[in-house]
Symmetry: C2
Subunit: 366 residues, 2 copies
């Protein structure tokens, strides 16, 4: 990780551009060597500078979560976009999707007959231009249907003149230290079963899309045609604690300052407080995490509590507490949340020059 540039105000998100580019290149090569296409999820970064680097490295298009994110990238020339979300297309969404269709090849997720009917009503004849991707529940039990229910959705689409291009799933239960191999297995099984049933019913399935960041590296083309990892560009404390990446591979940190420092005494804990709170790190903390993020300069320190503007840090007993005003780099638990909290980040190049990158698609929730 590059060092904190002199003179920046904290807390501040900074990106190690050289490491970012290594991460992008490594995933692109790995996915390509496995015979898969890469359609990275841009909800992680929401930045044109990162999207362009992914596309230059061979990504076939971008995945996003909302129509707003899709428009943000389409207006900047991104030609192929997959909204991997079971959209309910009301009139206001329909107007914006029609704009998107003028600019990009668009695929959209769906997991119900009702949502397909709704699209055909609100989008009218333009609905035929959308490539539907049926979402399969591979065990995360969020959105998505069981494999055997995919056929009814495909039939509903055919009846209203819409095209099904493929199936996708998000194996979200891979976000558990003991669950990764099982999640990959569930993902393959569910997608293979849905694909088999759809093909038996006469549907041509061109895209079989899977892969979270933890599972993407384990994926191959025995079932899938593409993967959609997001977090890999930056990495975060969750991926590190899941054992999917090394500390050195993390490309984003929050520069922060020691604002409060306490040696501790009877009943009062020894601690420092950093000015990076949940309003820049995000509050995500899975049950298996060691804290609310990790500190680059002291991996054994633990962020034991987080308020909006305070990280309370337990420092190792055998190490002296850092002085007031010391700047430290915090790795967020979940980088997608951190990036979505700021309007811009500081991108630091290997020659120590830096530039400001706008988080163009920040906050585009609909």
């Amino acid at each position: 990780m590059v060092s904190i540039p002199a003179g920046i105000s904290t807390p501040h998100i900074m990106i190690d551009v050289a490491q970012l580019e290594k991460n992008i290149s490594k995933m692109a090569n790995r996915v390509s060597s496995q015979g898969l296409k890469l359609r990275p999820h841009a909800k992680t970064h929401k930045m044109l500078e990162v999207a362009y680097r992914q596309l230059d490295a061979g990504a076939v298009g971008l995945t996003v979560a909302t129509v707003g994110e899709a428009l943000s990238f389409a207006l900047q020339g991104v030609a192929k976009i997959f909204i991997a979300y079971p959209l309910w297309v009301d009139e206001s969404q329909a107007t914006r999707i029609l704009e998107l269709l003028k600019r990009s090849k668009l695929s959209i997720g769906t997991d119900s007959v009702e949502a397909v009917h709704q699209m055909s009503v609100t989008l009218g004849e333009k609905a035929a231009k959308i490539r539907l991707m049926i979402e399969i529940d591979s065990g995360h039990h969020r959105s998505g249907v069981a494999p055997q229910d995919a056929v009814a959705i495909a039939q509903a689409a055919r009846e209203v003149g819409m095209k099904v291009q493929g199936v996708f799933t998000f194996p979200g239960h891979s976000y558990d230290p003991d669950g990764i191999d099982a999640a990959v297995n569930d993902e393959y099984k569910a997608l293979a079963e849905a694909t088999r049933l759809l093909r038996e019913s006469g549907f041509e399935i061109k895209r079989i899309s899977g892969g979270s960041s933890p599972t993407a590296a384990l994926s191959d083309s025995s079932v899938l045609t593409e993967v959609r990892p997001g977090v890999y560009v930056f990495g975060d404390a969750q991926q590190y604690e899941l054992g999917r990446i090394t500390f050195d591979e993390i490309a984003l940190s929050v520069a922060s300052t020691v604002v409060s420092r306490h040696q501790g005494e009877a009943n009062i804990p020894r601690r420092i407080v950093l000015d990076a709170g949940s309003k820049i790190l995000g509050s995500d903390r899975p049950s298996w995490a060691t804290g609310y993020g990790r500190i680059v300069e002291c991996p054994d320190a633990r962020i034991i509590a987080l308020s909006e503007h305070h990280a309370t840090v337990q420092w190792p007993e055998d190490l002296e507490l850092p002085a007031h005003g010391t700047q430290l780099q915090v790795i967020p638990n979940h980088v997608c949340q951190a990036v979505n909290l700021v309007d811009s980040v500081l991108a630091v190049h290997p020659d120590e020059t830096n530039e400001v990158w706008d988080v163009t698609a920040r906050g585009l929730n609909f």
Copy 2:
């Protein structure tokens, strides 16, 4: 709570203006009748429209958490601002604080001799214009010193020609269903002790500042001179589940849409999925909370999982699942996080007209 206006895209934060004004007026009257001043924390709302209503109702000034928030309000004419945070004033912060001092009467928190010395160095002779407020740890063990350590900080301030105006604390351990009365007691005891010691050492203590939203209503002038509640303007699911407010008093919700719906079968849970995820609700979930927020139309429903754009909802078994496309209002657990995720909100008036309010101080982390 007002209904969701027709035609809005979801997820979308909406404010019930009439209820907001009732909440502002109720707190102002209560605090005034207790003989206290009200210096509400603006980190909750970050909006001029709310700040002006608070000041019009008698607030003596605003409390904020960062220099950026302070500048945002000072530039719009707010005359008295308290940064209730132990700032470490480096050169870049000093430049901005000097701008603030031209526009507002400014008080700043501190909890160390080192931070006082740092201010006197970077602010130079202008440091004398700052009213220091010493932060006392009343049991939350975040920032703040023990009462007996306040005197050394006040002496350090006197030596460099800076003024101590008072003491403050944040009884953060009041955010627990069983902890409120004990937290009020701790708060009073710590502030009274610090004030006594400072006065015995010859310091004039004009302001004794306490009060989170859970404790503000219980506060009186036996020890305090002012309170700094924030969340009370909107309320949220945490305050409701802590028993501090009724459901009807909540003035902010997230309009959301049912995008996925599953009747459930063997091993697969019955559920709906709403399009309001952690990128609009925030991820905060205290251990005692019933879920990741509450649903206005169905208080017995439980948000059992939250992803960035999905709320997975367990619906009561004896009630039919709402249809695809149904719009529901979600009350966030922690409203300060929700507001900080959007650039604007929809303010709905009693006559059903609405306007867009900018979250002017959003994301101003430093």
